[in-house]
């Protein structure tokens, strides 16, 4: 069992810390800044904020290199295998789920990463949003289950 081993948990801690610092430094914790990226109607007037693109492109580039490095190895450092996502098909659930998420994201400017990192600042209304997000996730788990074995079985159907 890898989950109780110290290096495994330290890796999770380091990754979480880097993620949280990145969200603050990039200002993606600011819902208004995210909405100003999504507001493409402001492009003609010069009021558009392109920052989010400058966040996601280097993030993808760094992870792309990590994925390449991982391909040359049979396993990660602290576990016996890479946990690739169980689901591989492009289906109605993927598209419908992404559409619902897009609607929620466009209404709030908050995606799950910033939602969690905003706990550091506790703005008014955040706990309401987080509770609703958890409830939504639980409701969704009736359709797409939790846990590797259940997910594999579900994906194979």
């Amino acid at each position: 069992m890898p989950i109780a081993r110290l290096p495994y948990l330290a890796t999770a801690a380091l990754s979480g810390a880097l993620f949280g610092a990145g969200l603050y430094v990039s200002q993606m914790v600011d819902p208004l800044k995210v909405l100003r990226f999504l507001d493409v109607t402001a492009i003609p007037t010069g009021g558009w904020d392109a920052s989010l693109a400058f966040v996601i492109v280097p993030a993808i580039a760094v992870m792309f290199i990590a994925v390449r490095i991982g391909k040359a190895r049979s396993a990660p450092l602290f576990d016996t295998s890479f946990h690739s996502p169980e689901y591989t098909k492009i289906d109605r659930r993927l598209i419908g789920g992404a559409a619902l998420f897009g609607l929620g994201w466009g209404m709030s400017g908050i995606c799950p990463g910033p939602a969690i990192s905003l706990i550091a600042f506790q703005p008014d209304g955040l706990w309401l949003f987080l509770a609703a997000m958890l409830a939504g996730s639980l409701a969704g788990s009736l359709i797409v289950p939790s846990g590797h074995v259940r997910r594999l079985a579900d994906a194979a159907r």
Binding site: S26, V29, V55, M63, D79, H83, W105, M107
Partner: protein
């Protein structure tokens, strides 16, 4: 506050990419926040690392804001959620609950969010993630345009 901040954006993005790289090469896990958050509750079995990850994410956000308060919202400028568009006359809690529910259910059914599909999935050259990213960005952009929330 400057509205367009490419340098700090790229620096922050690099940190987020490193976070994803560390979790993948160290533990073989995808740094997808909706998945990590959504699988905190039973019947999920591996809760501990997810909890550690999320606690450290919040703590690092807090400490970064203390160390570099000039850098962004949450430092000198207080962090705030965005109220619903005035023209819609929807109470704030109703709007936030609706947005939170949609985000939770959508990321669960679609199996990922901006980090899982957007950063990790695209870096893995997953066609599935590319489709998800195209859909949620399009719908979000449309939502902002239609609601006039900004």
């Amino acid at each position: 506050m400057e509205s367009f901040t490419p340098l700090t954006a790229a620096l922050g993005g690099t940190l987020i990419g490193l976070a994803a790289a560390v979790l993948w090469l160290g533990n073989g896990r995808i740094a997808g926040i909706s998945g990590i958050f959504g699988q905190l509750l039973p019947p999920a079995q591996t809760v501990l690392w997810r909890l550690v990850f999320l606690v450290c994410l919040v703590a690092a956000t807090f400490l970064a804001a203390r160390a570099f308060p000039q850098l962004g919202v949450g430092g000198v400028v207080p962090a705030e959620l965005v109220p619903p568009p005035a023209a819609w006359s929807v109470p704030v809690p109703v709007w936030l609950i609706a947005a939170g529910l949609l985000t939770g259910i959508g990321t669960r059914i679609g199996n990922g969010c901006t980090s899982g599909h957007g950063v990790c999935g695209l870096a893995r050259l997953s066609l599935r993630s590319l489709v998800a990213v195209a859909v949620f960005f399009s719908v979000a952009i449309l939502t902002v345009a239609v609601t006039g929330i900004v």
